[in-house]
Amino acid sequence: MNTDFSILWGDPGTLILSGLVVTVKLALCAFALAIIIGVVMGTLRWIGWRAVEPFCWVYIEFCRNTPPVVQLLFWYFSASFVLPMPVFMFLRDFGYEFGAAVIALAFYHGAFYAEVVRAGLNAVPKGQFEAARALGLGFLQSLRRVAFPQAIRVLVPPLVNETTALIKNTSLAMAIGVAEMTFQYRAIDNFMFRGIEALTVITVLYVILCLIAAWLGRLMNGYLSKHLHARNATAIADRQIVGGEIIR
């Protein structure tokens, strides 16, 4: 096999770079939206509020048990049927594929974040929240001042895992024609016959992106353990997390 990486200084390199930019944008947008969904849904499930419980369950279980790439196709092909017209128009102006990919990834990973958040809240000793309520703190105050700070220590490792999964899943967006890295690799392979070189480069780039996410997670973990002394919560977390994945 003769590989020639110097060709990357030409067009293929430019394509990969533009793909990288799209991948990062996609990951950031989807992450932001997914975290919001995750915190809201996770907290709702933790509260166990009768009225919304079935709705939360259906959303989370459905998203977790179906392939992200099919969800992507679903949003792409049927957005115009299910989304309200103004939202759809707004997305179309944005680059419609990109919007569909953000929504699909956000809903998919939001369900996983929700489970992480719920498990984190469950790891906080029950007495903590009750004590806060007993001291007269409001519900949201107790949540914000007592439950979340203790839960977040526990959350970081599985959160990092989920976020790396999200970064990796951005590659699925090529299925609906988003011009991210994997899409650009396919183009280079099809039209320039430099598949192996391009594949090597984007593999390395994905590894770097994932390692950056892990590194940010470690920073956050270090910061939190310095500023929050929630040993108790960590001890419980150790029991609940096997292989970096939260059980129930």
Partner: protein
């Protein structure tokens, strides 16, 4: 609205979704192909994950290091990229491969890396005090490993393992991206032909995946009952 459903849920479409187009000619597709890839990958990755996970939990560098290398490199790359590697690399070395094999190999190696982490976590989750109790009874290290550590580890990791199996089953859907006729591809084709009812078509496919995966989880839940686990795996 009901029209749309009626147009999607025809017997012909269901047959295509479940077994593919060329079933009569001996080629499986659709859900059957999806299950085939998924279950084979689950079996293979469990074997790999068990071996690598035990290596990861070992204190010996010679075992630990290669295992760590494998896990770290496979976990940080998108599965889709691995599928492309598995498809384009073997021919370079003169090895024959097929689309089916590349998806299977990539999925197995990818999932194996995750299962290795679960196995390692499971082994580490067995309390040290419990091992001491076993040692005090005069059990040898090997007996302790086999009768005390591994069964507890296995039991502790069942929920995480079930989660991984489901992910693996979902990931089979990447097969359509390199042109296999799996459930997703068939669904996509039906959607393309009907044009006007994508919501119904894709909801149908999602529903099939959902049922399969929930079924898988339910089966594994049976094991999570300590009594049946004990009867099945511990013939003391």
């Amino acid at each position: 609205m009901m029209d749309n459903w009626a147009r999607v849920w025809t017997p012909a479409n269901w047959e295509r979704l479940l077994v593919g187009d060329l079933f009569n000619r001996g080629e499986i597709g659709g859900l059957a192909l999806t299950l085939c890839i998924g279950l084979l990958a689950i079996a293979g990755s469990t074997v790999i994950g068990a071996v690598v996970g035990i290596m990861r939990a070992s204190d010996r560098k010679a075992l630990n290091l290669p295992a760590t290398l494998y896990v770290q490199s496979f976990r940080n790359v998108p599965l889709l990229i691995l599928v492309f590697w598995a498809y384009f690399l073997p021919p370079v070395f003169g090895i024959q491969t097929s689309k089916f094999l590349s998806v299977l190999v990539a999925l197995t190696l990818f999932t194996g890396a995750y299962i290795a982490e679960i196995v390692q976590g499971g082994i580490r989750s067995v309390a040290a005090a419990n091992l001491e109790a076993a040692r005090v009874l005069g059990l040898t290290p090997r007996q302790i490993q086999f009768w005390v550590v591994l069964p507890q580890a296995f039991f502790n990791m069942l929920p995480a393992l079930a989660g991984r199996y489901v992910v693996s089953m979902k990931n089979t859907s990447l097969a359509f991206l390199i042109g296999l006729m799996d459930l997703t591809e068939i669904g996509k084709q039906i959607g393309a032909r009907l044009m006007t009812s994508p919501v119904e078509v894709y909801l149908t496919i999602l529903l099939i995946y959902f049922v399969v995966n929930r079924g898988l989880v339910m089966c594994l839940r049976l094991l999570e009952n300590r009594q049946s686990f004990n009867r099945l795996f511990l013939r003391i």
